[in-house]
Symmetry: D2
Subunit: 138 residues, 4 copies
């Protein structure tokens, strides 16, 4: 495990919400982080699909950790803001959130993210995010 | 309880995520819905504050249900997209999300939302949302 | 004219785009700035209404200058990002963009904005913005 | 020129704002539209760079026309909302906005867009957009 993977994994384990949702850290590379979420009725909205809030939670974390891979060692990352489009109902057995750094500045890092839904052998993108992360002193 | 309050309450109870987070439906009036969330370590990000994803989940639901109070009886509401600014760390004993309809069209309803954090006798706005909800046949 | 009004007016006059669009600085108070735009065919989209880009330009400037009224004297403001909902066609004889500071931090200032359309004796809100402005050294 | 290219070109020519800014329609393919904008002091913000409003105008139009290439023949497109991140100052001799369809539904089409700045032999992405377009009867 790389140093940055360890740093992200340690922070991820400290996020109570990720455990509550059942999310798992899947991969950490320079500028890209992936987080998986198995379907559970505990995450549903009123029609039984996964709630936009759960989808948002994992892709926000994926974007934040992607930003962390580009941040100076003495900095942590917090979300300043994000926007998400829910493209279709979040139906699937498993979801994968991918966060990618598009531009890393001194203070602000802009990321894009997507969430893929896996159902049998099909994979569909169910959400797109554009996020602004901010470096803060650790 | 008004008819629309009953309709919202019934839908809210069907949202597994709201129970998982510990959120409670507080009030339903024409064009405005309030949802409360007590602090829990189960909702935290890495610094112990409430995760942006949990904050987003309750204000997204509040905006969606506010839109439902303005929707035709044969319609349900799904989130098309939203944008949220996290103004400061979500520190508090209890959080209140307020969703308000700003403009209700035939297909799209635009809402604004905010999340207030209560800590002792102080109350601070920790997040602002602007959301687009879409009417879909029930 | 207050010092901050003078500072905003001087910056506004340096914005070539505001003159090109025909926009006028209307008012500057602590945390709120208003910019007006008379209708012109030169600003239209394909149906003859005012283009979303022109509407966005004036409310982005209004939000930026609202942020400037709260910024330290040695700082200028640039737009980090914004999101705008176009609520209805921008039909009117005159438009008024209002930018308001919601939260001013050390680095980031969050504003909301709206654009009102005036037509005869009626006034309608045609757009809502939520924006993140960033302080930069002057 | 393809039928859809003709349709987009005809609509583009009817947009007064595009002529006022000096924008040119560059290319129209299935799901992607490009619009160019030469630098002019008439488009500046207070530091002499191109104003976020002008950058937003061309990428909003590019996203809208990209959506039009996927719309049923009896529909037109209007912008419901968009969010844009300004990644760095818009400095350059020429700008190119690219709008791409990410998901085309019955009513809503979600697009992403970017604006590239060309300066001598360098090209930098200066803005990223995520937009929701809505089909309306022509």
């Amino acid at each position: 495990m790389s140093d940055i993977h360890k740093r992200v994994a340690s922070s991820f384990e400290a996020q109570g919400l990720m455990a509550t949702l059942g999310a798992e850290l899947v991969s950490v590379t320079d500028g890209e982080v992936q987080i998986a979420l198995p379907f559970s009725e505990r995450l549903s909205q009123q029609h039984g699909y996964v709630h936009a809030g759960a989808i948002t939670s994992i892709v926000d974390s994926a974007c934040g950790y992607a930003a962390l891979t580009k941040a100076p060692p003495e900095c942590e990352i917090v979300s300043a803001e994000f926007k998400i489009n829910l493209l279709r109902p979040a139906i699937g057995e498993r979801f994968l959130a991918i966060g990618r750094v598009q531009s890393a500045g001194r203070t602000l890092t802009v990321c894009t993210g997507e969430v893929q839904a896996f159902s049998g052998s099909t994979c569909k993108v169910v959400a797109l995010m554009q996020a602004t992360m901010v470096n803060v002193p650790a």
